[in-house]
Point group: C2
Chain length 204, copies 2
């Protein structure tokens, strides 16, 4: 790995563990085992490094979050719940110490760092588009008036809120609950989308 990549990976991990504000330059240099000259050469400011980290997250979305699920699962609706399963595993593996990296940085930096905010929004949009694709692939099973974009964004909303609650309560229950409520909502949509309600005789 070259020095620039090493700095980005180190910063990505430290920001995830400690947040952006709590990560010091000295800590980045020490963890990456890189001299300050190299750091300032590649990233004149700490914010430049942050923006590189957020670009990296955009690059990693498909190979790290989406594709492993899509390779394993073919049903488009189950792909959505497969992606959500990934976050459950992450919460458990990290013992609730890490949430969604984008969500964390979004709440920390949305006010103070407009350029980062823009890239955070692009990360959210990329995630939403991957879910939206699944919903479009399952469009013939959903009611006609469902907006794939709106429903995909609702899945993202649910994931982010559920990760936040699970981290705060330090247990999976809020995450599992949110996913099972979302599943119930999907079941109702799918039922409505595949029933020929017009063909049913009117109640007497």
């Amino acid at each position: 790995m070259d020095t620039r990549e090493k700095l980005i990976e180190t910063a990505r991990n430290l920001f995830l563990q400690n947040g952006y504000g709590n990560t010091g330059v000295a800590q980045i240099l020490k963890t990456a085992d890189v001299g300050s000259g190299s750091l300032y050469h590649f990233f004149p400011t700490k914010e430049d490094l942050l923006l590189a980290v957020l670009h990296k997250y955009k690059e990693l979305l498909h190979p790290m979050v989406i594709q492993p699920v899509f390779d394993r699962v073919t049903d488009p609706i189950e792909r959505i719940f497969g992606v959500l399963d990934g976050y459950r595993q992450m919460l458990v593996m990290m013992q609730f110490s890490m949430g969604c990296p984008i969500g964390n940085l979004a709440l920390e930096l949305s006010n103070s760092h407009p350029a980062a905010r823009q890239l955070l929004a692009e990360n959210f949009t990329g995630w939403r588009l991957a879910i939206e694709k699944c919903l479009n692939d399952a469009a013939d099973r959903l009611p006609e008036n469902v907006s794939a974009e709106g429903l995909a964004q609702f899945v993202l909303t649910t994931m982010e809120g559920a990760v936040m609650l699970a981290r705060t309560y330090r247990n999976l229950e809020p995450y599992n609950n949110a996913v099972s409520q979302l599943r119930d909502y999907f079941d109702r949509l799918l039922k409505d989308g595949t029933e020929w309600s017009e063909a049913r005789p009117a109640p007497t």
Copy 2:
């Protein structure tokens, strides 16, 4: 307002605007116009002040967030959406610079401050219980197998995720979308809860 209260109110506002880590002691003293002797008398550490702020949020939940809506709206389901409207107004009034104070602090402090984490969880639980009460009041209109606790927590999940996305995108669309998807889910639950599906003749 006495000095202790003044310090709590000042810290509450500064933590909301800038986060906990980014709020300095000097800034608290200056904004509250209080001497450092008084601060250390009431709050030996910054974390003591944080815990007092989180206790204050628990106290304020009903008079500030819940009761104004319950006074205006009587239908229990509409009370839930009335509470959600309050967060939409807050986002607009503050031009997306502030989100849910508890959600912000939850992501900032869940790892590093176990005592605060506990109080953050208690704040979430208080909010959930207020929504759960509405759902229990509307139990006869919902399907029998709906868990009021689980659905109330899903409402909280939705609110927190939606506030996060609205702040990141700096517009209301993600918030409005989440509320309208949640409304669609409620409509489906209410429809299912009030239909006598067993009494309907089987399709021929």
